[in-house]
Symmetry: C2
Subunit: 424 residues, 2 copies
């Protein structure tokens, strides 16, 4: 019999922050590929809505017009063609910037990492609404950030609580950064009111906090009127322009596979970020940028966006109706005006992390809400996505969720556990 010699286990000397937690959602999404599973857990746009033909034509045009430029190294700031196309795109949203002041990034995730690296050292604080975008917390966690939490409700983050929170917490330094998803936040689905936008800006200027407005979903509004971006309000408020940056992405409106995001930043912050990006990936794919530029200039996006908004609105309505029909005694939620997510809370204490195990068995998954809080949060909350499932699938998903809730309750009663323990 052959002897197996085991190699000694290597003792790697990893960096302090290397052992970041993997995204809970990422692990969860493995279940989404189980046959028959209805996933209300994902954060992906609907692939059936991608403008494949339009993007294919944009690609052929890039190969015809600028083949070598699209394949060669390019400037860290971004390809000029894309900077120009994005400036035109933004001007339709009242954001008037020169092309040269746009920093292209490898998806908006890289923008978050760049801002984190520009501002944060170990222990520095970030003010953010809770619940908040999980991957932003991951980028900030990698820098060893601490958080000043702003509770969020149906009308967005309660920014009027910021000074009180600082006063109650004098031992900790003033945050260096504030991070906010201004429209249809992930997971909360809420948008910040104009009053709150102005209050947040005033606070950032007064405290010298750099405010990053993340707006990947603003173009997915299917109801109501869009409040002006924080960035636009900042240009009109004395002293505020220097303290506000804007980040967005083509991932939710064109296609995530391009990995095209961008930032509009005040000049000194932009210079700092560009120098850091050089050490991160030199620049974003020139080919992807030249394709994106041509697609934006083709004028096909606005037509496509109409279709996306109509589809998401119908799916959102189907989900809301199903929740109302089957679970109205059980949960509360606000009806979203756009975006991809719906945020729910059970009226009575239900631990959605435990409920998820039952849901999985019944063929439906969602994301328990607690993962969207950096320091843990309300276990009775959950995030449901309506971007990828058809209306029928959403209705069936809610039916299964109801079954899962019954089996969760039966188990809780059957288990010999004091009632007090069942409601954390």
């Amino acid at each position: 019999m052959a002897t197996v010699i085991r190699e000694p286990v290597p003792e790697y000397r990893f960096s302090r922050r290397a052992l970041v937690q993997p995204s809970a959602i990422r692990e969860l999404l493995r279940d989404a590929s189980v046959p028959g599973m209805i996933s209300l857990a994902g954060g992906m746009p609907q692939a059936q809505l991608f403008d494949i033909e339009g993007l294919r034509e944009a690609t052929l045009e890039a190969f015809r017009q600028v083949p070598r430029q699209a394949l060669q190294y390019g400037p860290t700031e971004g390809q000029e063609s894309l900077q120009r196309a994005l400036a035109a795109h933004l001007s339709q949203r009242a954001i008037r910037v020169s092309p040269g002041s746009i920093q292209v990034t490898t998806g908006s995730q890289q923008a978050l990492d760049l801002i984190a690296r520009a501002f944060l050292d170990e222990g520095d604080r970030v003010a953010l609404e809770v619940p908040t975008y999980l991957a932003a917390v991951q980028a900030f966690d990698l820098r060893g950030a601490q958080y000043l939490e702003i509770p969020a409700a149906a009308d967005g983050a309660a920014v009027d609580t910021l000074e009180a929170a600082l006063a109650a917490d004098r031992l900790n330094p003033v945050p260096k950064l504030a991070y906010i998803v201004s429209n249809f936040g992930n997971p909360g689905g809420a948008s910040l009111s104009v009053e709150r936008r102005l209050a947040l800006l005033r606070w950032a200027v007064a405290r010298g906090v750099f405010l990053l407005e993340d707006d990947p979903y603003g173009d997915l509004r299917f109801r109501g009127h869009a409040p002006p971006p924080l960035w636009v309000l900042a240009q009109r408020m004395p002293g505020a322009a220097a303290w506000c940056g804007y980040v967005s992405s083509l991932s939710k409106i064109v296609a995530p596979g391009l990995r095209i995001g961008w930032m509009v930043l005040p000049p000194r912050v932009a210079n700092t970020v560009t120098r850091i990006k050089q050490a991160l990936d030199l620049h974003t794919s020139s080919l992807a940028q030249e394709i994106a530029a041509r697609y934006l200039l083709s004028g096909k996006l606005e037509r496509r966006l109409d279709a996306v908004r109509r589809t998401y609105a119908a799916q959102c309505d189907a989900l809301c109706a199903a929740l109302h029909d089957r679970l109205h005694d059980e949960i509360t939620f606000s009806v979203p005006d756009g975006g991809m997510f719906l945020w729910c809370r059970f009226r009575e204490c239900v631990d959605t992390a435990v409920l998820l195990a039952h849901a999985r068995e019944h063929g439906v998954i969602f994301v328990p809400g607690a993962v969207f809080y950096p320091r843990g949060g309300d276990p009775a909350t959950l995030r449901l996505s309506f971007s990828t499932c058809s209306a029928d699938e959403l209705r069936e998903g809610v039916r299964r969720l109801k079954l899962a809730l019954c089996s969760y309750r039966e188990r809780a009663i059957a288990t010999i556990v004091p009632v007090s323990k069942r409601c954390p």
Copy 2:
């Protein structure tokens, strides 16, 4: 007359390492676009050699075969198709790995950043050859790294000096990382001998240092026999496989605009790196990956590489012959066997940073060698690139360099400066 109200200058609280120096080369390259300028300074592959038609076909195939997959979010590890294609590509270089053990990165620059973030905290040390790849130092600098320098010569880094350097420097910790470009280093042009590869591996294992082999130029060998990659040697040396990683890229052999790099890492390091990459950019462009996969599988790369090698060899020969004809009394250099760079040293003290100003006036630029040393280095050295200029341009560039040297010498004599000051 209107009164201009100046806004107060904002006092940003940037992070400690945010103010990294911009790459000296990057600033220099702005001069490369001056009409008539001959640039021996660049580090770009020759765009005329890109296989535009082959890549266009690969793109159309991606749009035909997997349009939604190419445009949707994908796994952080990389698209399966590209992992498989890279495993096949690597097996031709005696690197036998399963597709799943390849981590795709956004260019090899991101691989360097990922490894820096996985291992380095402020003040941690990296052992690296000097002169070394500038952008690697930028990535390590962003982590606040310190360096243990290994002097490099024509046969690569003098790794036998490592223990003596450690002994002479007991106050500093043992490096956590060692970084080496194994073939045709940038800027040195040298390759590490097999004996030195083995010695470096033994040292890394004995000291628990993670050794990253960077090999973007290995496929650009136009003379001589390739030594086995450190990664291959590590698989055969007991205990070494866990301490060695391999990074390479399509930038020098296919096209940099795709931003496709990759790493082969031991399992626990790979897991750590994948989790970090998730917070950096979620994943590399799915579209670029699906294109790259199809191009690699088309079998067109090997034919294209033959053309690239023949062209670079002819250009390298032209540069060496011109240097020999015009400057053989002035400079020493080793004739490269591959890659894109030639490293020179003036026999008598010449400050190449000052010479560059004269060269610019004569219509030629190069990179002064001192920038490739993290702590500054020999001012009499310079890097010449032979990848992008034709043989005629290279000859003309050397003629101009000779004129610049004359004007440098005349200026030095004309200036009332003691002779001793002229030779730093």
